[in-house]
């Protein structure tokens, strides 16, 4: 990823949709983004675990981000993608509905999540960013991947 001098302090963020909601994860935390392939379900696993898949020989656990965030389930649709994150040496996938743009964010402009966000959801957001009239919530990746 090439960054020019003047952008050194800007944050690159991949934005994506879960339902109608626009969310973001800084690119530095993302390993890759893949199309949804065959996912093997894991019976008796927690509800937000969709299953496991084979990523070039590695077993990757796939989390339904919508269910995880207590939003609507994000699993159907042709535009669905899986964002692969590195979780302490092991790969974990987040299923999202659609990938939007990669945007550059000035960290100065990030603000804390709004106070009226549901308590159980606010745990999952570090900050929000005003973008084209809407809000992008930046995911607290560690919280999303935590095991309750």
């Amino acid at each position: 990823m090439e960054q020019h001098e003047e952008h050194d302090d800007l944050l690159l963020v991949v934005t994506f949709y879960v339902g109608e909601r626009l969310l973001g994860i800084p690119t530095e935390k993302i390993q890759e983004i893949i199309k949804v392939g065959v996912i093997t379900d894991v019976p008796n696993a927690p509800g937000h675990i969709i299953g496991i898949l084979n990523l070039r020989g590695r077993i990757v656990t796939v989390i339904d981000l919508g269910t995880r965030l207590s939003l609507e389930s994000s699993r159907q649709g042709d535009e669905g993608r899986i964002i692969i994150l590195d979780d302490g040496g092991e790969s974990v996938g987040l299923m999202v509905d659609r990938i939007a743009d990669v945007i550059r964010i000035d960290p100065q402009e990030l603000t804390p999540p709004p106070a009226n966000m549901k308590a159980n959801q606010s745990d999952f957001f570090d900050t929000v960013y005003r973008f084209q009239g809407g809000l992008v919530g930046l995911l607290a990746v560690d919280a999303v991947l935590a095991i309750d």
Binding site: V38, I59, I147
Partner: protein, 1011 residues
């Protein structure tokens, strides 16, 4: 002082651990041999101490160096017969090596470790008096025989090196050099870290020794860190100018050591004597409370610098399993294979570019064989002998038995058996627990033993061996055994089971209670084994390794703990099953058998006890779970046959109902991610041929989560009384059924090596014969149509190849799916449908299934396989054949209950020209033997037979003096070492595995007594 690099130090630690690994065993052997020392062995231990000392000096681990030096002295004395390795001496050595090991494992803190006691003891032993080497008034130490002392410029320190070591290093024509460097200015320097520099040194020659002269670092009053002299003794083939250039240092820092500088012989020249008092500890350990008299404060400054703990790089904890030593030849093989793989890839790319079908095929075959071989070789690199953990028990048992006042002899066998490194590491704790248990609880004290009429000394045995593709480890003792009453009383008192459950348990069940969590009899908690780690933890640990543990015990006679382990955790054979369109793998180690119950029979064979479903199988009550329900999958019930996989969790068997049974495959186990790892139902995941992921089921975890572990006892006995005595009609044969077009056929399961899926394209025609590439070899392939009048294969349907092995070769039978293994309880009809290539028929679920005569098929299709025997063998027994050919009286007695095998074996023997009398069981064979006592020269017998089995028959034969010399060959499908041992005990002359024609023919030729 951050002069040490992690990598170098890790290398040293690793190497030192290896040196220390066998030392206990070696020392104990040395102790056993007493004054009659084995010089080679003492030398080995000496060298270990010596190498550790050398490295420690280089790395400035002063305390380690000091202790290893002390050890070296004692070992040298033992080597020179100046000291007898008595029990006390060896105990001190063991303690010191323990201390050394501790310090090495915790090297950062080692310089602060208090070793004064041990060092003083060692010194006292060495000097015969109480003089500690650190005391300043110690007499100047004479250099060892043949030792060179090299004075260091402007320093009190010297580098000592043995002359042979130097000679070895210079034998290649190199020159010895002394490098006088400054760690403050010479290295590290921009772009070159110290490790880089040491790497450069290694490239230029052989580094013999190195030390940091702490006496030159200045006093506490001076500015610290102005200068830090670092001396290196090395041998290089470069001249000093070249060396200076290669190391990028000033040439004046390199001092060539020629003969004039090197002290020539011992005793050392007088001018060196003055340096000697500074030895052996150029920096006394801070552990000594009083500073050496007359030493100046300079040294104290040096000490505090030296003692600075190494905390650089955050390498605070070492992971013991992080590195592995691999035989270089194995690496070479890997390199070659990697090269092959690259070549094959190029072939493949070219073929793709050219669109060359034949080339594609060839490249495909090549990649196939290279990858298989690559996989096997890589697996080999992980294999380690189990001796690495067995060895440590010699010490454990020695120390423990001493502590407990017991006489215990530890017998270890099978050290060479290899297991995956991960398994070896995981085994250490459970084995230690079991051995400690055996010593502590198993073996009685001598007085008690004598009262029980046993010898005072007990025996604990550790035995490892291979059986059926698994490794078995047995820990046995000849102690008091596990008393089931005592165990159950205790379990009852702790509320682990109810009296009702207990009433229904067998002795074995009750002994297994010791593995229940929370079980620990009150009088069991001792220092030795009651450390809060119960047998349940042992069991859990072993199950984590995909292993099983079994207990056998006889009151007053001893106990046996048997652990069954897979060879490796990474690749295991698994049976694939399907339920609700999902495929799951069950590790073969937990599969007992698979059973299909026809829809009509389900009512008869499956019963309900309360909520639980159970299967009646050969008089046993087996609880059943439905995989679908156990996994909480909601799907409609399916009608039809019931497919059951009978699995075991080590204690009990249960049936797992699945919708479909698939093939068995070797799979690569992949761990699950941490979000699902807590699910006990799964042992991991694997990637199937089509790239999809399948979960691997854990038989124990599933039993647990379905709650069947608790119903078994009650359900079992309740049903034991209801169970009608099911007579086994005819013989009990395991058959493998398959299809050939629309016709269902079968072959005896014993003959089958493997079954694998193939594609129709895999079959090739070479020289008019059908073959296929199989694991890098060309395997002949036939189909049923080739040998019987049956129809031909349906190539549109899924194809499998059933692999058989004969005469040391493999051949395949192509067949259509579905393939199933069936326990056939009805008699095989060898008459009605007998025809060419068909040995008989059997009724399976109302269908007539023909049994293919595989042996005849191979013999007629590949007669050359059996003709290629060496000529000498033929010649040696052909006279015997001719003499007996056509002779009236039978000369060979054959006992075999299976019609099929009796026919096969009879034919094989008769082909050799002998006359056979064949009997269907041991009792009839015994009658026949008595009848033809005069003419019978050899007995060939099956082992498993009704009325009188093969072993009993053999014992009967051996029991009569007239038959004492009569050779007995047994044929069995049980080929474990245990079985062979049982056979040998009974008096079997030759124990053969069913059914290798060549082996049998050879054995007969061998044993038939020439006239």
């Amino acid at each position: 002082m951050d002069i040490l690099d992690d990598e170098i130090i890790l290398g040293y630690i690793e190497e030192s651990r290896e040196h220390l690994a066998d030392i206990e065993t070696d020392l104990l052997t040395i102790e056993e041999q007493g004054a009659e020392i084995n010089r080679e062995l003492v030398n080995k231990v000496f060298r270990a101490a010596h190498s550790i000392k050398g490295g420690a000096g280089f790395l400035n681990l002063t305390t380690i160096k000091e202790l290893s030096h002390g050890l070296e002295n004692i070992l040298d004395m033992i080597r020179n017969r100046a000291l007898v390795p008595s029990r006390e001496v060896v105990t001190l050595l063991l303690l010191s090596f323990d201390k050394l090991r501790d310090m090495i494992n915790n090297y950062q803190e080692s310089n602060r470790a208090d070793i004064s006691g041990v060092v003083a003891d060692l010194a006292a032993l060495a000097g015969g008096g109480g003089v500690s080497p650190a005391q300043a008034d110690m007499p100047p130490e004479q250099p060892e025989q043949g030792e060179l002392v090299i004075p260091l410029p402007a320093s009190d320190s010297v580098i000592r090196i043995s002359r042979p070591e130097l000679e070895r290093a210079t034998s290649g024509g190199g020159t010895p050099y002394l490098l006088a460097l400054d760690l403050m200015s010479d290295v590290p320097r921009p772009g070159v870290t110290l490790p880089d520099f040491i790497g450069m040194l290694d490239h230029c020659g052989v580094v013999l020794d190195g030390l940091v002269a702490l006496d030159l670092t200045g006093t506490l009053d001076e500015e610290p860190g102005e200068v830090l002299p670092f001396f290196v003794l090395m041998v290089s083939n470069l001249n000093s100018q070249e060396l200076a250039a290669a190391l990028n240092i000033c040439q004046d820092k390199i001092i060539p050591l020629d003969e004039s500088v090197l002290p020539v012989a011992d005793p050392p020249p007088p001018h060196l004597q003055s340096y000697s008092p500074a030895e052996p500890n150029f920096s006394p350990s801070p552990a000594f409370s009083s500073p050496p008299a007359g030493s100046d404060p300079v040294r104290q400054g040096g000490v505090s610098t030296a003692a600075a703990p190494q905390e650089s790089g955050g390498a605070a904890t070492l992971l013991p399993e992080s590195t592995l030593r691999i035989n270089v030849s194995l690496l070479d093989v890997l390199m070659n294979l990697a090269g092959e793989l690259v070549l094959s890839r190029n072939q493949l790319l070219q073929a793709i570019l050219r669109g060359d079908q034949a080339g594609l095929k060839a490249a495909g075959h090549r990649i196939n064989s290279v990858t298989s071989e690559l996989q096997e070789t890589i697996m080999l690199t992980r294999m380690q002998p189990i001796g690495t953990i067995f060895n440590k028990f010699t010490r454990v048992v020695r120390d423990l038995s001493r502590e407990l006042g017991k006489e215990i002899n530890l017998v270890i066998s099978g050290k060479e058996v290899e297991l995956d490194k991960t398994i070896i590491e995981g085994l250490s704790d459970p084995l230690t627990h079991l051995v400690r248990n055996a010593v502590d609880h198993g073996i009685e004290n001598p007085a008690e033993r004598r009262r029980a009429g046993k010898s005072g000394g007990g025996t604990v045995r550790l035995h490892a061996y291979h059986e059926a593709g698994q490794v078995i480890i047995e820990i046995s003792d000849d102690g008091r055994g596990i008393n089931p009453d005592k165990v159950s009383r205790s379990a009852l008192a702790k509320g682990l089971i109810t009296a009702e459950q207990l009433r229904l348990m067998s002795d074995k069940d009750r002994r297994f209670l010791i593995m229940m969590p929370g079980f620990s009899t009150a009088d069991q908690i001792t220092d030795i084994s009651g450390r809060g780690v119960g047998m349940d933890v042992v069991k859990t640990n072993i199950e984590k390794l995909n292993g099983l543990i079994d207990i056998e015990s006889e009151d007053g006679r001893g106990s046996l703990f048997q652990i069954k382990l897979p060879l490796t955790l990474a690749i295991i054979p698994c049976l694939f099953v399907e339920t609700c369109c999902r495929r799951y793998a069950i590790p073969q180690v937990s599969v007992v058998e698979t059973i299909r119950i026809g829809e009509a029979q389900i009512r008869d064979r499956i019963q309900r006890v309360g909520d639980a479903e159970v299967l009646l199988l050969r008089g046993e009550i087996i609880p059943i779970i439905h995989l679908k329900e156990a996994l909480g999958i909601s799907a409609a019930d399916t009608e039809g046959d019931l497919n059951l996989v009978i699995v075991t969790n080590g204690i009990m068997q249960y049936g797992m109902a699945v919708q479909q049974l698939h093939d068995s495959e070797e799979i690569v186990v992949k761990p699950l991610g941490r979000h699902v790892r807590h699910l006990k139902e799964y042992a991991g995941a694997t990637i199937m041929g089509d790239g999809q992921v399948a979960l691997i089921l854990d038989a124990s975890g599933l039993a647990h989560s379905s709650g069947i572990a608790t119903i078994s006892g009650a359900a079992r006995s309740e049903l034991k009384y209801q169970e009608p005595q099911r007579e086994l009609s005819g013989e009990n044969r395991a058959l493998l059924t398959f299809y050939n077009g629309g016709q269902q056929l079968a072959v005896p399961l014993e003959l089958v090596e493997r079954v694998e899926k193939i594609s129709a394209q895999a079959v090739e025609y070479v020289g008019g014969r059908r073959v296929m590439q199989y694991h890098g070899q060309v395997m002949p392939l036939m189909e049923v149509g080739d040998i019987t009048s049956a129809g031909s294969l349906d190539e549109e349907r899924d194809l499998v190849v059933i692999v058989f092995a004969f005469a040391g070769r493999e051949f395949g039978l192509a067949a259509n799916t579905p393939v199933d293994s069936i326990d056939c309880t009805t008699a095989i009809d060898g008459e009605t449908l007998r025809q060419q290539g068909i040995v008989g028929s059997v009724i399976i679920q109302g269908q007539t299934v023909l049994i293919v005569d595989i042996v005849a098929a191979v013999t007629s299709w590949h007669p050359e396989w059996f003709e290629s025997e060496p000529q000498e063998t033929m010649a040696s027994y052909s006279p015997t054949i001719s003499r007996h050919r056509g002779g009236g009286a039978p000369t060979i007695l054959l006992a075999e209950d299976s019609d099929f095998f009796r026919e096969q074996v009879r034919r094989i023997i008769e082909e050799q020209g002998y006359t056979v009398v064949a009997c269907v069981d041991g009792a009839l064979a015994w009658e026949a033997l008595n009848e033809h006592a005069e003419s019978i020269r050899l007995v060939v017998s099956d082992i498993e037979m009704p009325n009188l089995d093969g072993l009993e028959l053999t014992r009967k034969i051996r029991g009569e003096s007239r038959f004492r010399e009569l050779p007995v060959i047994t044929l069995s499908s049980l080929a474990g070492e245990e079985n062979v041992a049982q056979g040998n005990d009974a008096g079997v002359t030759r124990y053969l595995v069913k059914l290798d024609r060549d082996e049998l023919v050879e054995a007969i030729a061998d044993l038939y007594p020439p006239e």
